[in-house]
């Protein structure tokens, strides 16, 4: 079995896509859209110094949306034989013959489609044999376990590497493809101290293997986070300032983006409905997407409709200036596409203070390092989630906290209560924020 990805796969996927589009008219479709993807990956885990898992992933699929008049149907398959593809096309057409017309479902016109595709350097091989990957996974875990004798157990060190291609074509003349890679290392450790048992993790995930953090960092970071959670307490129920670490703050930022995205808006399912040109964040916040950053996690030259992506601002001086729209959601709302089918790409919120300065600034309150459960109601903005982290007094972390909830409302949190954002964001996420300090949230504990 070939263990190295063959970049020729992009040409194969393109030719399959082209063939389906060619056949679609004869199958009864007035128009057609095809997505094809293929990937090859390696995932290994080592636990307690020994190899535990070796997995080769090899995925492929093709998805066909057929239009009959203004009606459409979608079918997909993982079987790329000519017979299976023909049946998939037929299934899509059969569905399009019975669904209701949807005037909002349109394909990008030849004028709208991307013309020149820049190389955004998203595909980088990592020449890694299974043996070398396992050796690295052992190193990752060992770097963590060796930190402290209270680290008594492990869910292992892992290494993964995947390369793939994705091709998109329509009968309006679109035929584009993009190859990309994702490589990563992670570690999950368990610590024990008396009756207290805790787990935590660390990871690094990037497109270019040279951007990876060192295996020692991954293990040591997992060790640091796990040990810090030992012997937690509950804090008292009270309304206090709350500081979200970057990973948790990035989740909040993603929720804001969902709330200004077309799908939530045309379904009237967003607390930010009809809030265009009004302030939704503090005046010092600007949100800009930068889809063309080379080698970045969220980068793409074109969106899910085949329109060219562009650097653009959604929030200026805290005011919502633009929604996040695809062709479809724009049509539903009577607006123009913002070239965001598939979401925003590389959107960062970064401030100037480092984490320690934010803790000092908070003076007293809760640092949230982990959140549990869903608990975000985008319809009305209500927010209530399980949390763990640290209690802060006099600007210093005092002790770990667990089994509490943090609750508020997204609108109030983001517009009125967000005091400061940290400089500490992880640029290898597509939507990333530095730590966020909120003036107040209801913390429920004992």
């Amino acid at each position: 079995m070939a263990t190295e990805f063959n970049p020729q796969r992009e040409k194969v996927a393109q030719s399959i896509t082209f063939d389906v589009l060619e056949q679609s008219k004869a199958a009864g479709a007035d128009a057609c859209e095809v997505g094809a993807s293929a990937s090859l990956g390696l995932e290994v885990t080592a636990r307690l110094g020994q190899p535990e898992k070796l997995e080769m992933t090899r995925d492929q699929s093709i998805s066909v949306t057929a239009f009959v008049g203004q009606s459409r149907g979608t079918a997909s398959t993982t079987d790329l034989s000519a017979d299976a593809i023909r049946k998939t096309l037929e299934a899509a057409v059969a569905i399009a013959r019975v669904t209701a017309p949807d005037p909002a479902a349109t394909l990008a016109t030849a004028e709208q489609i991307i013309q020149d595709i820049p190389d955004l350097e998203l595909d980088h091989p990592w020449h890694l044999t299974p043996e070398a990957a396992l050796k690295l996974a052992i190193e990752v875990e060992a770097a963590g376990l060796s930190q402290d004798k209270r680290l008594t157990n492990s869910d292992g060190g892992s290494v993964s590497s995947t390369r793939g291609v994705s091709v998109h074509g329509t009968t309006e003349g679109l035929l584009v493809g993009q190859a990309s890679s994702v490589h990563g290392m992670s570690c999950v450790l368990l610590a024990e101290d008396g009756d207290s048992r805790e787990r935590s993790y660390a990871y690094t995930q990037v497109r270019h293997p040279e951007q990876l953090r060192a295996p020692e960092w991954v293990g040591q970071e997992a060790a640091r986070k796990t040990l810090a959670r030992l012997n937690p307490r509950k804090c008292e129920t009270a309304e206090v300032p709350v500081l979200f670490v970057p990973e948790m703050a990035s989740g909040l930022l993603s929720s804001v983006i969902s709330a200004i995205s077309g799908g939530s808006l045309y379904r009237k399912s967003s607390y930010l409905l009809d809030r265009i040109d009004s302030r939704i964040l503090p005046e010092w916040v600007n949100l800009t997407e930068r889809p063309h950053l080379r080698g970045a996690m969220g980068s793409s030259a074109y969106d899910g409709d085949g329109l060219p992506t562009r650097e653009q601002r959604f929030v200026v001086d805290g005011v919502l200036r633009q929604y996040v729209l695809s062709l479809y959601s724009a049509n539903r709302l009577g607006l123009s596409s913002t070239h965001n089918a598939g979401g925003v790409r590389n959107l960062y919120l970064q401030g100037e203070m480092d984490f320690a300065a934010l803790v000092k600034q908070m003076h007293r309150g809760l640092v949230v390092t982990e959140l549990m459960g869903q608990g975000v109601n985008l319809v009305n903005g209500d927010y209530s989630r399980g949390a763990s982290g640290f209690w802060v007094e006099d600007g210093e972390i005092q002790y770990p906290v667990h089994e509490v909830t943090v609750a508020s409302n997204m609108d109030r949190m983001m517009r009125d209560d967000l005091l400061l954002v940290g400089s500490d964001l992880d640029p290898h996420r597509s939507i990333a924020s530095g730590s966020m300090l909120f003036q107040r949230m209801m913390v429920a504990g004992s």
């Binding site: 079995m1 020994q50 190899p51 535990e52 898992k53 070796l54 997995e55 080769m56 992933t57 090899r58 995925d59 492929q60 009606s71 459409r72 149907g73 979608t74 079918a75 997909s76 398959t77 993982t78 079987d79 790329l80 034989s81 299976a84 299934a91 899509a92 569905i95 019975v98 669904t99 209701a100 949807d102 299974p130 157990n153 869910d155 368990l190 048992r197 787990r199 959670r229 937690p232 129920t237 379904r267 009237k268 399912s269 549990m372 459960g373 869903q374 109601n377 319809v379 009305n380 209500d382 209530s384 399980g386 089994e403 909830t405 943090v406 609750a407 409302n409 209801m442 429920a444 504990g445």
Partner: protein, 479 residues
């Protein structure tokens, strides 16, 4: 009528030039060196869905996926690869990757496969072609009209009909040769209601392993519409939920997601074999209040979480996990059972051929007690009555878990009063299970909507419980 094995052999093996008789040789080729167990998992899945929005069904899809997963185990090591093309050549290529988890290459020869006789807990039918697409669309349209007619405050109705069909076949070096045909249907409704500029959502769903004739009834549509609309309207009047520790009365049925999180995951064999669960090494110890008996049962007819055989070819079972407050058993797949020196319990499940099996839950519930729900409510001075929930999550090492109420009420001086906004509830598994002071006489299983996620794999599951009074839970409100 042909058996599932014959049917699946025709649909899955024959197109790639394979027959049941070839499987002993192929799986035998994996038995090399230190490999002490290996299996081949063949699967074909079809899924169809229809979505209603704005009073019309404008979106529908059909998905087809087939392939074979090839796994070799040596002690606690697993090598795995898969192919979406089913042929001897592809299986041999995947096998080379799988056996590379250990160094030995010396073959031990073919395997004699014994056909596992499978129970019939659900009909071996494919519900997708059972009805014409037009009939499925018409059913959703009727449901929509019904929901809108129910209350003028309903401004949005979304509904979906999801129909899936799965054929699986397992051949393993322990001699297992087994097959299963699994229908699964689900109907979901979500409505948005508006009043004085405030918008709230309500949702409901039901389903199981049965055909469309049973799913697509007027009674089902009526029930779901009523539940979803009522929930949205109740939430329009909801006041801020209190925050802090207080007594909580949980309704029967879906609130059993409590058990799934507080108990279930922590009793999965892999975590206990590795010693990473809060429940590790606690067999025979008291982990819940007296009177609490928790069961995982994959053998209930037609249920969403039920299985004739698990994904390792082992017939599913009724497994008692906690008996009268005492921990008595874990849920096991073959690998973890072998390593712990116990019998597998029929809980080896995988999302698809492209995923490794793990110990997973089926239908997890608590046995009934004797207390009427009204008595529990009367006993609470100030607390919460939680009727419906969204999902939950657990940290199996610390035992900390959450679940989120989507419909709940205040209890004041023994009376249910105002509805409160949705809130997350948090607690520690064994502590909450020990704080159960009343167990209801009204055991109910959920309506068939559960999805469980673990290690990136999603599976259909069931939950259930009688009404319960928990003396102390932390409620994540804002008031």
């Amino acid at each position: 009528m042909s058996t599932p094995l014959q049917t699946i052999s025709d649909t899955l093996l024959a197109p790639g030039g394979l027959a049941l008789d070839d499987l002993g040789t192929l799986v035998g080729e994996l038995a090399v060196g230190e490999v002490d167990f290996a299996d081949l998992f063949f699967e074909r899945a079809e899924a169809e869905s229809f979505s209603l929005e704005d009073g019309e069904v404008k979106e529908a899809s059909f998905h087809c996926d087939a392939g074979v997963g090839v796994r070799a185990c040596a002690g606690d090591r697993q090598g795995f690869a898969y192919s979406s093309e089913i042929s001897a050549q592809r299986i041999r290529e995947a096998a080379q990757v799988a056996v590379a988890i250990q160094d030995g290459r010396a073959p031990r020869g073919g395997i004699n496969l014994d056909r596992v006789s499978t129970p019939r807990l659900y009909a071996a039918v494919n519900p997708i072609p059972e009805r014409a697409s037009q009939a499925k669309i018409a059913y959703l349209l009727e449901l929509d009209a019904h929901a809108r007619a129910r209350d003028p405050r309903v401004i949005q109705v979304q509904a979906s009909l999801t129909i899936s069909y799965r054929e699986v076949l397992v051949a393993a070096t322990d001699g297992t040769l087994a097959a299963d045909v699994r229908p699964l249907v689900r109907l979901s409704v979500s409505v948005l209601a508006e009043q004085n500029g405030r918008r709230e959502r309500g949702s409901a769903g039901l389903g199981g392993r049965y055909d469309l004739a049973r799913l697509m009834t007027k009674a089902h549509a009526d029930t779901l519409v009523q539940e979803a609309v009522d929930q949205a309207l109740i939430n329009l009047d909801a006041v801020d939920c209190p925050a802090g520790e207080m007594p909580v009365v949980l309704a029967s049925g879906w609130p059993g997601v409590l058990l799934h999180e507080a108990v279930g995951h922590g009793l999965e064999g892999d975590f206990n074999r590795k010693g990473s669960s809060f429940y590790s090494g606690k067999i025979g110890q008291q982990v819940a209040a007296r009177g609490v008996t928790v069961v995982d049962d994959g053998t209930i007819a037609d249920r969403r979480g039920s299985l004739n055989i698990d994904d390792e070819g082992r017939p599913s079972q009724r497994n008692v996990l906690i008996q009268d407050g005492i921990l008595v058993g874990y849920m096991q797949d073959k690998l973890n059972a072998r390593l712990m020196g116990v019998e597998p319990t029929g809980n080896g499940r995988r999302q698809s051929y492209a995923h490794l099996p793990m110990p997973r839950m089926t239908n997890t519930f608590m046995e009934a007690g004797e207390v009427p729900q009204a008595e529990m409510i009367r006993s609470v001075k100030k607390g919460i009555f939680a009727v419906n929930f969204g999902g939950g999550q657990v940290d199996i090492t610390s035992g900390q878990f959450v679940f989120a109420a989507s419909e709940a009420y205040l209890i004041e001086n023994g009376q249910v009063t105002a509805p409160v906004k949705g809130a997350t509830l948090i607690g520690h598994g064994p502590e909450v299970m020990s704080a159960i002071s009343m167990i209801g006489d009204d055991l109910a299983l959920d309506s068939g909507i559960g999805v469980c996620g673990k290690d990136g794999q999603s599976l259909p599951v069931g939950v259930g419980q009688p009404s319960l009074k928990v003396d102390r839970l932390t409620v994540g409100g804002t008031a």
